[in-house]
């Protein structure tokens, strides 16, 4: 930029100086930056570099592109790559649309009875509270080769549900709640007076939606689309169970590692998958973010006048109702399926699958799963809000790094992260523990981390961090900077501003982050499939084992128990935050 006069340049350098001064006078921010950079580097960048570098290394340790070339010519890889892309695009669009539908009805439309509104809500949150792959399970039980509807009712011998169709249905129903929650938060934050102004000067509802609401939501829509796209291509459990012959990169990587024992190719595939998701991420960051709009101005927003038009209400209700009934049906099927002897062959009632669940894994796998998820959820949620806040509201040198790395974990399929963690920590950081006599490696090598629940907690955090951070960023973008600047001008430091201004304003995002990370953790499978060990046993592992073995009854029984646990936890959490949440204090003070 060329300075036309001397004065603005002076001002600029002066303001820079001031900024710098402000930065160094803020030790809490500095401490946070140091901790975050340390955490992200050690627990995300380092293990991945250890694993992915294998794709560029020959067997004797030299740099080579041979593996990359070999992979690019590998038919399995090419098919998987395009399959992955196609699936991600479709599911990204469908989830965004369904999520938008639910959020719009929830926030804008006055549904006839409260029951209907409540029902939508439950249905939209159901996929959040259950392990992602249970939908695959019930879809197979209904429409599979021995499905209740296909085989028992219509006598069809079809395998149509295995593959792209099944994956689209399952992934959409699994991922749209994330979009829904994002949109709900955003829509609530839109000041109704903006839309009312448009209505007052004669715009139709459709016009208001397309020219006011939608543009305001655009960053959120891009965000939701991106999250779903990446979630879809990194998903492992669903393609594994219902993907049939439709190979994706995530499943191909797993099979290269455990089936063909071809780790170099697997590393190369993981590298390509990572490049793909990073490209998406960068696209979003530099293209969508420029259009971000601040809509929450700090003035207390009035309540919205809900839409009562029949022309809007009825079609939307019917559409969402149809989706709801389908989703409810799929979930109800899980406890039902757990009670039959052999699904598709012998429909006699039995409790044997519940017995089997406890005989093969015991109660320990439930307590382990709950404990580790409970530890990781608050840490994740706080960390993601902090990162979001630092990224949106602060300026510092390593900001881009923090944002990029915390998002990156989402782009890493769990199975890759799991193996990266084994490789990265089994003999300490950079394998330094190998230099010490066995069993005597000092604490700082971090070898002691391996094989403990702490490592699993770390994986949980890393896996959930991107979702929380992304939602946090989207929510914070809508808060006008001037609110926080006012607090800073009045002398509050970073910590005070965060806890007393930012956090209360993004409470919704924070709580949804808490819930999401708890659920993501307790239902995680691919990332921990190789990290479970006799000391750390997880329930999801048993469910997928049972599903893979064809013991649908056992899988359903364990999944039923898991869903109950998660649901109970969420209810408790909601009660807890209702009575102890920050907004209560604010309301009281008003």
């Amino acid at each position: 930029m060329e300075a036309k006069t001397v004065t603005p340049q002076d001002y600029r350098s002066q303001s820079k100086k001031l900024d710098r001064k402000k930065f160094w006078n803020d030790p809490i921010l500095i401490a946070m930056i140091v901790i975050m950079v340390f955490f992200l580097t050690l627990f995300i960048v380092y293990p991945l570099v250890m694993l992915l570098s294998e794709a560029l290394r020959s067997s004797d340790g030299h740099f080579t592109l041979d593996t990359i070339k070999e992979t690019l010519n590998y038919v399995t890889f090419k098919t998987a790559f395009f399959n992955t892309l196609k699936l991600g695009l479709i599911v990204g669009v469908t989830s965004t649309v369904v999520g938008m539908l639910f959020a719009y009805i929830d926030v804008y439309v006055k549904t006839k009875t409260k029951i209907l509104a409540g029902l939508f809500n439950v249905v939209a949150t159901m996929p959040v509270v259950s392990p992602p792959f249970v939908l695959s399970l019930s879809l197979i039980m209904l429409f599979g080769r021995t499905g209740f509807i296909t085989k028992s009712l219509f006598g069809l011998r079809t395998s149509g549900i295995y593959g792209l169709t099944g994956l689209i249905i399952v992934q959409t129903l699994t991922f749209f709640p994330v979009c829904y929650l994002t949109f709900k938060g955003l829509l609530k934050n839109i000041d109704p007076s903006i839309e009312e102004a448009a209505r007052d000067i004669g715009a139709s509802r459709m016009k208001v939606f397309t020219s006011v609401t939608l543009p305001l939501m655009l960053p959120g829509i891009g965000n939701a689309f991106l999250v779903t796209f990446i979630e879809s291509i990194a998903d492992f459990a669903n393609p594994m169970i219902i993907g049939g012959n439709y190979d994706t990169l995530a499943t191909s990587i797993y099979l290269q590692i455990t089936g063909s024992l071809n780790k170099n190719i697997a590393s190369a595939m993981a590298l390509f998958l990572l490049l793909l998701t990073m490209a998406l991420f960068l696209l979003q960051k530099y293209w969508l973010e420029r259009k971000a709009t601040a809509t929450l101005t700090g003035k207390a927003a009035r309540g919205r006048i809900l839409i009562e038009d029949k022309g809007v209400r009825i079609p939307l209700s019917i559409l969402a109702g149809a989706v709801s009934i389908f989703v409810i049906g799929l979930y109800v099927l899980i406890p039902i399926g757990s009670l039959f002897n052999l699904w598709g062959y012998d429909y006699s009632l039995t409790f044997k699958w519940y017995e089997y669940t406890f005989a093969s894994g015991g109660a320990k796998q439930y307590t382990d799963s709950i404990t580790l998820a409970l530890i990781s959820a608050p840490i994740t949620s706080l960390m993601s809000m902090l990162i979001a806040w630092m990224v949106v509201k602060k300026k510092f040198a390593l900001k881009g790094y923090i944002e990029l790395v915390s998002m990156m974990a989402m782009a890493v399929p769990g199975i890759v992260l799991g193996i990266a963690y084994i490789r990265g920590f089994v003999t300490g950081v950079f394998h330094v523990a190998e230099l010490f006599p066995r069993g005597q490696a000092p604490f700082w090598t971090l070898q002691g981390l391996y094989g403990t629940g702490a490592l699993v907690v770390l994986v949980f955090i890393v896996r959930s961090l991107p979702v929380g951070t992304r939602n946090g960023i989207a929510a914070l973008r809508q808060i006008d900077k001037s609110i926080e600047e006012a607090a800073t001008d009045l002398g509050a430091n970073s910590g005070k501003v965060f806890t007393s201004i930012t956090l209360p304003l993004i409470k919704d995002s924070f709580i949804s982050g808490l819930i999401t990370s708890f659920v993501r953790s307790i239902t995680a499978i691919s990332a921990v499939i190789l990290l479970v060990n006799p000391r750390v046993n997880l329930i999801t592992y048993q469910i997928s084992e049972s599903a893979n073995k064809g013991y649908y009854g056992a899988a359903c029984a364990a999944a039923t128990i898991l869903i109950l646990i998660v649901y109970a936890a969420i209810l408790l959490l909601q009660i807890f935050t209702k009575y102890f949440g920050t907004s209560r204090y604010i309301k009281r003070e008003e």
Binding site: A31, F39, V75, T76, R145, T146, S159, M240, I241, G244, N245, D247, T251, S252, L255, T258, G259, L261, L342, G344, Y345, S360, G361, G362, P378, I379, L382, M383, L386, I422, V426, T427, H431, A433, E434, R438, G439, F443, L446, Q447, G448, L449, Y450, T452, A454, L458, G495, K496, F498, T499, L503, I529, L530, N533, P534, E545, A547, N548, K549, G550
Partner: protein, 413 residues
Amino acid sequence: MKKIFAIVLAVIMIFGAVACSSKPAGNEPANNAAVSSDTPWLTVDGKCACGKCSVDMSKYSPYIQQLIYEAHKNGETLTVYGACDESYVKAAGEKFEELFQIPAEETRYATGELFTKTEEEKNNPQADVWFGGSNDYYFKAKDAGLLQAYKPENEKNLIPNPAFIDKDYEWVGIYTGVLGIMFNMDEGKELGLEAPKTWAELADPKWTDKDGNKLIALPNPETSATATNFLATQKYRLGYPDNLDSAALEKYLKDFDKNVTQYTKSGSGPSKMVGPGECVVGISFLHDGVAQIANGYKNIQLIVPEDGTGFEVGAAAIVKNDKNPNAAKLFIEFCLTADCVNMGKDYQSMQNLVITDEAGAIQPELLKEYGIDDLSKLNLVPYDVSDVAPKLKEWTQEWLSYVGDDERHQKKS
């Protein structure tokens, strides 16, 4: 402010957990009990000299007694990585703990996962022993230097057969099973098809019905040891190693392929497809079929092909550089007793046992019912796993070149 401290605290806690995770020191031997002079691992009244346990030492040989004592003295525990049915792995660990009063923990992995995990942990082994799973992977593990040789005293309990124990003692066999054909009788009746009797028959076009539905399921040789066993079996059947008829093999594999509806990822996949009618003919190890029948699928018929079939050996082994050497040795000894192997049938594991009847092994009843309890009566191919194992990758490529790669080659379960 509080929240920030909470984070700092959390990070500290994470590292704190690391610091605290080191193992407590082993128990010191108790000195109060009078120790027998020529058998220092026993007290004068014949109890374990550790003085803390109540193991009935009189049941065991002096060598085993010493292992028990040493394990107790050093405060050893046992970590089992298993690859047979989850409930069997757990039951074996619990039985071991009950008998020898050594704390045991166990996890079940798929065989490929088991191998990968152990290989990754090579320099910091977490497991002491492997339990179950096809010895195909044990050969790979041996090649990768993951296993510890150990010559067990209870080798004497094994049915004498070079296939049942590694010649370098890096693994021992615990069960075996024959490859065979599973046939859905209901579907067969509906389609007017008789159960097949031989491998050769399966190349007949009748195994594609008039609507073009293919009726056979086979695991994928690219991912499953069961399927490579099938390939090897066909080789042996057609003259391998001395006078293999390559042209006949190629023709057979090509014709057979035309009848295959799906190549499953997992070796036991076809056994699960037969009962519900997802395929009419499934090829797996027959004990997987027996387990399905035991689950309630009474419509499955098991067939040992008359033209000769292959078999697998399920194994157990000690992981190299394990942390509990005495407990691990004791576990291998335990695997070679009736105490361990007789449990299999109660936990979805209907394999033929490789322990002799004299040692107390009781073959699963169901195997007798289907006439597959005595391997010596079956027409088995002279399967030499040490010869075949290194060639399997090449054979898989050869097979791929015959049949091509298409959408039936399912790489998932």
